[in-house]
Symmetry: C2
Subunit: 83 residues, 2 copies
């Protein structure tokens, strides 16, 4: 068993409204910042032990499907690295 | 001016309690997943135009300092790439 950290990034799908990100963008503009667009995402860093990088990635993917992401509105991506 | 995307990742500092991440970890364990630890972070992807990658990074860093992160409880990191 090797120690890995799997990072799951959960984003809203294109076209799904994100009022919180929109509010953040406007607040930055009010502070004088110049930006085109702002997208917010959730990032989960999961420490887990697995036999291989592939196995760690598959388990993190299942966690995303079962709990971390809502497939109706979210896309997610998984990255794995040794810890 | 070149189009960049600056990614700001905002994490709780070590030692700051994160009850939401703890609840997520426990929920994953109840679903039968085996994991050591789970950390949650906020990720902001900011599209902006700047004269250089350095300038884009500095502006994103200022946004983090002014609004996106709370220096008392958060650490943040900034990555910039062309868009």
């Amino acid at each position: 068993m090797t120690a890995y950290t799997a990072t799951v990034t959960v984003r809203l799908k294109r076209g799904v409204l994100d009022p919180e990100a929109e509010t953040t963008r406007k607040a930055l503009e009010r502070l004088g910042f110049d930006l085109e667009e702002l997208r917010a995402a959730d990032r989960f860093e999961i420490d887990l032990d697995a036999d291989s990088e592939e196995e760690a990635g598959e388990r993190a993917e299942k966690m995303a499907e079962r709990l971390l992401a809502n497939p109706t509105i979210h896309d997610y991506s998984v990255e794995v690295e040794g810890r």
